[in-house]
Amino acid sequence: MEAAARKYKAKDYKSELKPIWCPGCGDYTVLNALTRALAELGLPPEQVAVVSGIGCSSRIPAYTSVYGFHGVHGRALPVATGLKLARPDLTVIVTGGDGDGFSIGGNHFLHACRRNVDMTYIVMDNQVYGMTKGQASPTTAPDWEGSKLTPEGTGINPFQPLVVGLASGANFIARVSSSDPVNMAQIIVEAIRHPGFSLVQVLSPCVTFRPEQAEWRDIVRTALVDYTDDAARAARRLMTDDGFNVGKVLYKGERPPFRPEFENTDGSIAELEAKFSL
């Protein structure tokens, strides 16, 4: 607790556009946690950019008052990488879902972790493609029979985003639950402050196509062990974890972020465009 009035309030980071997510959706909590985190960091809205791909959760840039880019399915990370490299002064946050990030954008995810550019990736994982009406996603359990496309389940083991992120070089890894927005805000603050690529998995129920996920709030538990900076230990923890240990940072690495040297150019936009003309 500090004795100082803050310049920004969480609502200052929300746009006039009202979300159209289903009532009960975990993504509402993520929007609230993200805006609280930005207020706590005291970041001027014009110094923050939120980048997303496609999906319910990828609508977040429209609901914030900071710079936003609602891009192409699965391509949020390369757009954000380019933005951060061109404008290292900006705080870059990427938001999206499990399908967007781990399937369509799966390869970008691997290499974003590997590159370790200083940005924060918040993945709202509901183990389903909600926007397209409920198909199995990369993180769906193999025996989920809720989609007519996979009536007997996919039969495929789910993608393990935190393990893969760790193995690929993500510098900060945490898992939180949408049932605890204040804790989520705290973890997002830590993720933004930590240099390099920060990955935050949010267990965010899809109340429409995975109504059984409403039980997650009763299943999740606060992780007992504090974070480690030892990737091997973190890997062992994550490999033996059931996916419901939440609320704490799991791994904080010390790898320096990727910051390429640039030569400043005095060229105008027209001159730059001319170099790309065919």
Binding site: G24, K148, S179, V220, T222, G247
Partner: protein, 177 residues
């Protein structure tokens, strides 16, 4: 996993109490407003009306409170440093507990639960605080929350049999074939 915060006994000074009250009323007003928008978006006008009425009441409280705080230097609390007894401020309805088929009665009960929590929070401060001004103001705040509880009890009494039922959805979400 949400019961992690210390109790309301940790609030001992008037600025601390006002900082908590300001956060609580502000979050409650915003949350009721957000829920009203959600329900309006899904054409649940009767439920939306409940949340709008509550938003309006909270905004009135908030305005009075902001006026009261003008001459007080309030301490800053990070969202996770507030002395709530749950994950969020007691009056803010958990967004994960609503549904597009929420009935009027369910909406009132949900609001009732959170208004009661708010009243208990202030009552707890009134009981545990040592400073007379903190006790007095916490009692006043608790009484204001009791007033909301009274409204909600009255609204519950006015509910007809249809208000208890989840609204029918003529076009329910179906997985894509």
């Amino acid at each position: 996993m949400n019961e992690t915060s210390p109790d309301s006994g940790a609030i001992r000074t008037l600025p601390e109490l006002l900082a908590h009250a300001l956060a609580m009323e502000s979050e409650a007003a915003e949350r009721y407003g957000e829920l009203a928008v959600q329900m309006e978006t899904h054409h649940k006008t009767a439920v939306a009306r409940i949340f709008r009425r509550l938003e309006s009441a909270e905004r009135k409280h908030l305005g009075e409170l902001e006026e009261m705080c003008k001459k007080v230097e309030l301490p800053h609390y990070a969202p996770w440093d507030f002395k709530w007894t749950g994950a969020e401020s007691p009056e803010a309805i958990d967004t994960g507990r609503v549904h597009y088929q929420l009935s009027v009665r369910e909406a009132i009960l949900l609001a009732f639960e959170h208004e009661r929590r708010a009243a208990e929070f202030y009552a707890g401060i009134a009981e545990s605080a040592e400073a007379a001004d903190v006790k007095q103001l916490a009692r006043e705040f608790a009484a204001e929350e009791q007033e909301h509880i009274g409204w909600l009890e009255a609204w519950l009494g006015e509910c007809g049999p249809g208000d208890a039922l989840a609204t029918e959805d003529p076009d329910p979400p179906l997985g894509q074939e």
